[in-house]
Amino acid sequence: MARDYTPKHAKVGAVGPVALRCKACTARFEATHPAATAVCPGCGEAWRIRWFTPDSGMIIAPLDWTDYQARARSRATGGSGQ
């Protein structure tokens, strides 16, 4: 689970979803606090979300780098990951 650093005073009732931008394909999708992960509807990659407040959350990394790199490698032509 990604840590939730929401300051206590900010936890006042539910807030609506925030817009995220996929780091791999730049597609937009939404997530709602306190979801720790989200899957991009465009490319299917799973991302780790960090929340600072209920309305301030951002993707910081893939959920698992080894998995991500393996999938990226098999997607790219020639089998290279970079």
Binding site: M1, A2, R3, Y5, K23, A24, R48, I60, A61, P62, L63, D64, W65, T66, Q69, A72, G78, G79, S80, G81, Q82
Partner: protein, 632 residues
Amino acid sequence: MNKLATIDLDRRQVTVEEIAPDLRRRFLGGRGINTHLLFHAVDEHTDPLGPGNVLLFGTGLLTGLPWVGASRSSFSAKSPETGHLGDSAGGGHFGAEVRFAGFDHLVLRNRAAEPVYLWVHDGQIELRDARHLEALTLTDTQDAIKHELGDTRVQVAAIGPAGRRCVRWACIMHTMADAWGRTGMGAVMGSKNVWAIAARGGATLPVADPAALAKVTRTHYEQITRSKGFLATSSYGTLVRLNNTRTQGYEGGFNHQRNMTELPGELDADVFLDRYEIAKTACFNCPTHCRHVHEVTLRDGTRRRGGGPEYGGAGGWGSQCGAADWRTILEAWDYCNDMGLDVLSATAYTAWLMELYEKGVIGEADTGGLSLRWGDHDAIMGVLRQTVERRGIGALIAEGWMHAARAIGRGAERFFDHVKGLSIECDDVRGHRAQVLGLATSSRGACHLRSRYTLEEFALPSSVTEALIGVPIPSDAASYHNKEHATVWTENVCALADALGACKFLSKWLSTGLLGVDEFRDAVEAATGMRFTTEELVRVGDRIYNMERLFLVRQGMSRKDDAPPAKFYEPWTHGPRAGTRVEREPFEALLDRYYALRGWDGDGIPTPEALRALGLEREGALVASARGPGRC
């Protein structure tokens, strides 16, 4: 703007001069101009901790300008750790602020009578009393100076207790974890009684074509943020390498005795993000924000915050010292940052001592009572504390590993993995031939930031590398074929980036989709009006590298010093590529080809023809006369 300030610390005098256009054209700035100044300011007899050494600070040609990642700067001097070329690049916001304060290069000469810090602001440089900073950690030092000067936007580069006590591998630091880490530049600063440099200003920086620079910056920003390399570094910073090395069999462990440690899986970048990282910070103008901020609960229950860690610390304490737990790694990392100790040297020295202890070369009588068992938390923290306090084994290693090895005797020197006196990084790259060559030839000693052909790890098709480098580089890392081209390309591009103040993590050094020399050329022209072809710009990197080689040659170095660590000639013991080792004959042939490509003779000395082509005849003649008659 375009100003070089020389500070005579003894007489407390500052002289300012313009940087000549010819120097700019030939060396650009940053590490480039530093290397030229350093070569002429010291010689083979200069004592690195004596008043005759100079400490140079250089901002890159583009540092502080509105270009993506234009953040880097370099400290250079004769190294107290290795005895030859000392040079370290760092990021953050310090270099940019020195430019805003009105200066591009600083030259610190002689020694202040009492501890001072430099206050560089609005075109002036003052020396201010620093004695009250004596007991402060590095972050407290920076905050104290900012508070004293009354402005939170002052940027500070400082040394900590280690540098103040001239530990020979002390570093210079800035913010929570930006560092000019290697070769002991912090010790040189401490030997001059300069404990910090503070900068602040609002200068106007000239831009030749602002509209063109804005367009170039926008193009480069789009290019960078779409690249796969950017995805890795913006997510994990250098810790991505932790995962890559551990899953692909070149982790390096237990003082390079093994290529895989099989230590538990906590040593993973995703685990770090999950449990310890709380925020990310960035260097000036950089969208990558590769720096971590972490919080950790220490063994004694206290909770502390720090910047980083980087791969060198995680792999260094984790794999090389066997402490595969983040709490130990972070405590050691934070302590080094508090004290101003270079993490790469700290981990290499600790792993070395642990192997000596394992093999019975040293015991508790030598270590001030420490039991240096692999992975032991108290051992790791004990070595660091003893170094800063200069007692026990720390009293020896504070003077550098060579001094410690001589004092210990019993063949201790054989176990330290280094090239030209500088330790190698924690990963084990003996199966990557261009990278081995790079370590062997790197101009400040073993250095992955000058000479490591990173792309060798990604099995790129030779069509891709041919487009990038000009000759096809085999996708097999274990092949020796054409690898000299990859290393020369890397060394020239890295020297160029360091002279521009550009970050290598935004360059093709890291990933093919990032910025290359063509992009650098466009930024240089838009920013400064200086026009270079791509080849001319690469030649600047070549010139810088050759100047650095001349520095080493003047110190008596040659082919005999261009050798990988002895352990690399032994086979890997683990993993699917067990048996991999550096083979002497193919390596020597590769080295021959490297020398030929660089225009050096068979002993690794730059030939007069090569030097003439780069305009370095004068420096070549000086080195020839230093080496004595009959030698070119």
